[in-house]
């Protein structure tokens, strides 16, 4: 590009020499054209060189006149012609360089802000930012470090690949917030480069990246040879903008992460609410059904007793049915009341006392064995004295729920084993285990098994009745006693519920 203005200068000099008008030729004013042209194309150096060349080539034309006539207005004009193109080229070039540098800095700032708008991961955006900074500073190498210290900071360098020493100049800038400038890194006593000086100086510059929170990183740039005049100011400006942009990007990313987490939580909560809503609906339906069944029986048998004069045996049979259904209704209402207490946070009305497990379990086992002839029940106890410190009714409800659950989810019949033993992992506690060989519980369902209104769907247990409250009530009652309930299960193999309650030695 500079060759064309040079050529034009040559043509002008030749034209002036050939016309024979010497330094008076009007063509001399045209020297400004290539000088300004070169200045616009290549800045101050191009403009100065081209203008200087014009002056140099014009000297053999202008100087003889000065030597012959001395200093006159005409010869002074000739002397001015020697200087003017060079000065004009320098001035225009200087202005062009200045505006280009300013425009370059502004463009770089905009580009940096666009790259660090938080839409992309910081790592990849920083690589582009480092390249933008390198081009703007016209540096050989540029590194950006984002972080609090040199070892944990995120490092991006262009070109890629560099070793990092924990005591390096950039680390110093990160730690102290002070800039480092070196006119020759290989000859700088502060830098133990381990390399001898080269014919061309190796310049270096670091700047801290600051934000409202203090130093958030560092910018480092290296040049071989001359550092462009505007590079230092540009480095200062870019460091400020990169620091702020990095902080903004981090805040944006944090905000996005927070928003995503919030959205996930809201979605999960919404799904849970939907689930609960669905469960409530199902619950209402089941409750209606569960209440209607004994009520229908009560209604039917009581009407039969009122309207018909039944023989005593038959009337007694009806009364037994009425009593059984009333008990069922009472149990359902009791469960609902317990649930209501638990949900409203009211304490359960418990009256703990020593309870003989043998008697309680034998009675329940007999009861369930009589009702469910497809199942076999086995009760064993290794607990000393086979007694716990619990509310008798609550314990009875817990045992019944667990046995009922075991029967309900063993639709093909099978063995239900109940055992009591001292809790191995908790001295003073008694472990009551109810084990069945039924359909079992899938692993993903286990965490929800003690939630309210949860009823496991299984093709073989669709006819099983229940409110989905039994296990949640057992859990609440166990915890109210200072104990706990756990479950182990394998689908197709059965389940083992482990109810841990205080023994006679411990109080709750």
């Amino acid at each position: 590009m500079i060759a064309l203005p040079f050529g034009l200068v040559g043509i002008l000099v030749a034209a002036i020499a050939l016309t024979g008008q010497g330094s008076d030729s009007v063509l001399r004013h045209l020297y400004l054209v290539p000088a300004v042209w070169a200045a616009l194309a290549r800045g101050a150096i191009g403009g100065g060189l081209t203008g200087g060349l014009a002056g140099l080539l014009h000297a053999p034309i202008a100087l003889p006149a000065v030597e012959r006539a001395g200093l006159t207005s005409q010869t002074l004009d000739g002397l001015l012609t020697l200087l003017l193109p060079g000065l004009a080229g320098l001035l225009v070039g200087w202005l062009v360089d200045g505006s280009r540098a300013r425009a370059g800095r502004l463009g770089a700032v905009l580009a940096i802000q666009r790259r660090l708008d938080g839409r992309e991961p910081l790592e990849s955006a920083l690589t582009d930012v480092a390249e933008i900074v390198r081009r703007t500073l016209r540096a050989r190498r540029v590194a950006l470090l984002v972080g609090a210290d040199i070892l944990s900071a995120r490092l991006v360098s262009v070109p890629t690949g560099t070793l990092v020493d924990r005591d390096c100049a950039v680390g110093f800038t990160l730690a102290t917030g002070q800039s480092v400038a070196s006119v020759d890194l290989r000859d700088d006593p502060r830098v133990r480069a381990g390399e001898l000086p080269a014919p061309t100086p190796h310049r270096g510059l670091t700047r801290p990246l600051r934000s409202g929170a203090g130093v958030v990183g560092a910018l480092a740039a290296e040049w071989i040879g001359e550092v462009p005049r505007a590079a230092r100011a540009a480095a200062d400006e870019l460091a400020v903008h990169v620091g702020l942009a990095v902080e903004n990007a981090r805040l944006t990313l944090r905000q996005q992460r927070f928003a995503e987490e919030l959205a996930e939580k809201v979605a999960a909560a919404t799904a849970r609410l939907r689930e609960l809503d669905q469960a409530k609906t199902e619950f209402l339906s089941v409750v209606s059904h569960e209440l209607r069944t004994p009520l229908t029986a009560l209604q039917g048998f009581s009407e039969l007793l009122l309207r018909s004069a039944l023989p005593p045996e038959r009337a007694r049979q009806c009364l037994v049915y009425l009593h059984t259904e009333a008990c069922t209704l009472g149990r359902i209402v009791g469960e609902l009341l317990d649930l209501s207490r638990i949900e409203t946070g009211r304490p359960l009305d418990l009256r703990p006392e020593p309870v003989d497990l043998d008697a309680l379990m034998e009675r329940n086992v007999e009861l369930f064995a009589a009702e469910h002839r497809d199942h076999s029940f086995r009760w064993t106890s290794t607990a000393p004295g086979s007694a716990v410190h619990a509310d008798r009714d609550a314990l009875d409800r817990m045992v019944k729920n667990l046995l009922s659950n075991a029967v309900k989810y063993s639709p093909r019949g099978g063995c239900v084993s109940v055992s009591a033993s001292p809790a191995a992992d908790q001295p003073g506690m008694v472990e009551l285990a109810v084990e069945d060989d039924g359909v079992g519980i899938p692993a993903e369902q286990l965490p929800r098994i003690f939630d309210k209104y949860v009823r496991l769907a299984h093709p073989e247990t669709t006819t099983a009745r229940g409110l989905g409250l039994g296990l949640s009530l057992v859990k609440a009652l166990a915890e109210a006693h200072g104990g706990r309930i756990e479950v182990e299960s394998l689908p197709g193999k059965g389940s083992r519920f482990r109810l841990v309650l205080p023994g006679l030695e411990s109080q709750f």
């Binding site: 020759d184 061309t200 290296e222 040879g225």
Partner: protein, 274 residues
């Protein structure tokens, strides 16, 4: 990237260099020898040529020695190479007076400098190394252009003649430029001093300062014509050659292009006759 890979100690300072002491020792040797030469030149016309050669040779040796000291930081063991270089320079200058082919002895000086510089990294770091052909060609063309411009301007303006009266004398002067004049200027001003200043500042301050010193060295040379226009021309052209050599040194990383530019310029200059 040294800013990341090299350990940094903000409190470290440059160890003191024995530069001033070394330069003082060089001047202590060069001064009396040059004075002896000047004295010989003034006392006896028969010994005049020898005295002039002694004075000129010792001064060139002094420039080369100071360049060596600046380039190496006057590190340990500088006296032996500097002494050998100085003896070679003075010897070559004296031999040059002995006969028609005597100036060929000037070639010994760059050869000795190359021999002494071999294996010394600090000398290579000031640009005393080879250059790519394009850099060397550019230097030769630039120096030739400035020299040609000098010939045209001087002949048109001051009426100087461009001709070589004696090829032997012309080649002898060229040999002096090759081995002493241009060599010492490049070695000291563009090599040692420019490099030292450039390492501590930007290009233009370094180039301006070292070119000014180079011009001063020529202005103090009694061989330069005393006419005002000749001195103004000398300042202009030496400044131009100096700045060009600095630019070539910075561009190529080598002293060779600037050295060739200087040789090309002086090859033209030696053709001028008032």
């Amino acid at each position: 990237m040294l800013l990341l890979s090299a350990p940094f100690d903000a409190a470290a300072v440059r160890p003191p260099r024995a530069l001033v002491g070394g330069c003082g020792q060089v001047l202590l040797v060069v001064g009396p020898v040059a004075a002896l030469g000047v004295a010989l030149e003034g006392v006896d016309p028969a010994w005049g040529g020898l005295g002039h050669a002694l004075a000129a040779g010792s001064l060139q040796a002094g420039l080369l020695a100071i360049g060596w000291l600046v380039a190496t930081g006057a590190g340990r063991g500088w006296r032996a190479p500097v002494s050998r270089l100085g003896i070679t320079t003075v010897g070559a200058t004296l031999i040059a007076r002995l006969g028609q082919w005597g100036p060929l002895a000037f070639v010994l000086i760059p050869l000795m400098l190359i021999r002494e510089a071999r294996g010394r990294v600090a000398i290579g770091a000031v640009g005393f190394c080879g250059a790519r052909p394009i850099h060397a060609l550019t230097g030769t063309v630039a120096g030739g252009f400035i020299g040609a411009h000098l010939l045209v301007t001087a002949s048109l303006t001051l009426g100087y003649h461009v001709h070589v009266s004696s090829l032997t004398v012309y080649l002898g002067a060229l040999a002096y430029d090759v081995g002493a004049n241009v060599l010492s200027a490049e070695w000291l001003f563009r090599g040692a001093l420019f490099t030292a200043v450039w390492r501590r500042s930007a290009f233009w301050p370094a180039a301006t300062a070292t070119t000014a010193l180079a011009i001063l060295r020529y202005l103090l040379d009694p061989a330069l014509p005393t006419a005002a226009e000749a001195r103004a021309g000398a300042v202009f052209y030496l400044g131009l050659v100096g700045l060009t050599a600095c630019a070539l040194r910075a561009w190529s990383g080598s002293l060779l292009p600037g050295y060739l530019a200087g040789l090309a310029f002086f090859a033209a200059y030696r053709m001028l006759t008032p």
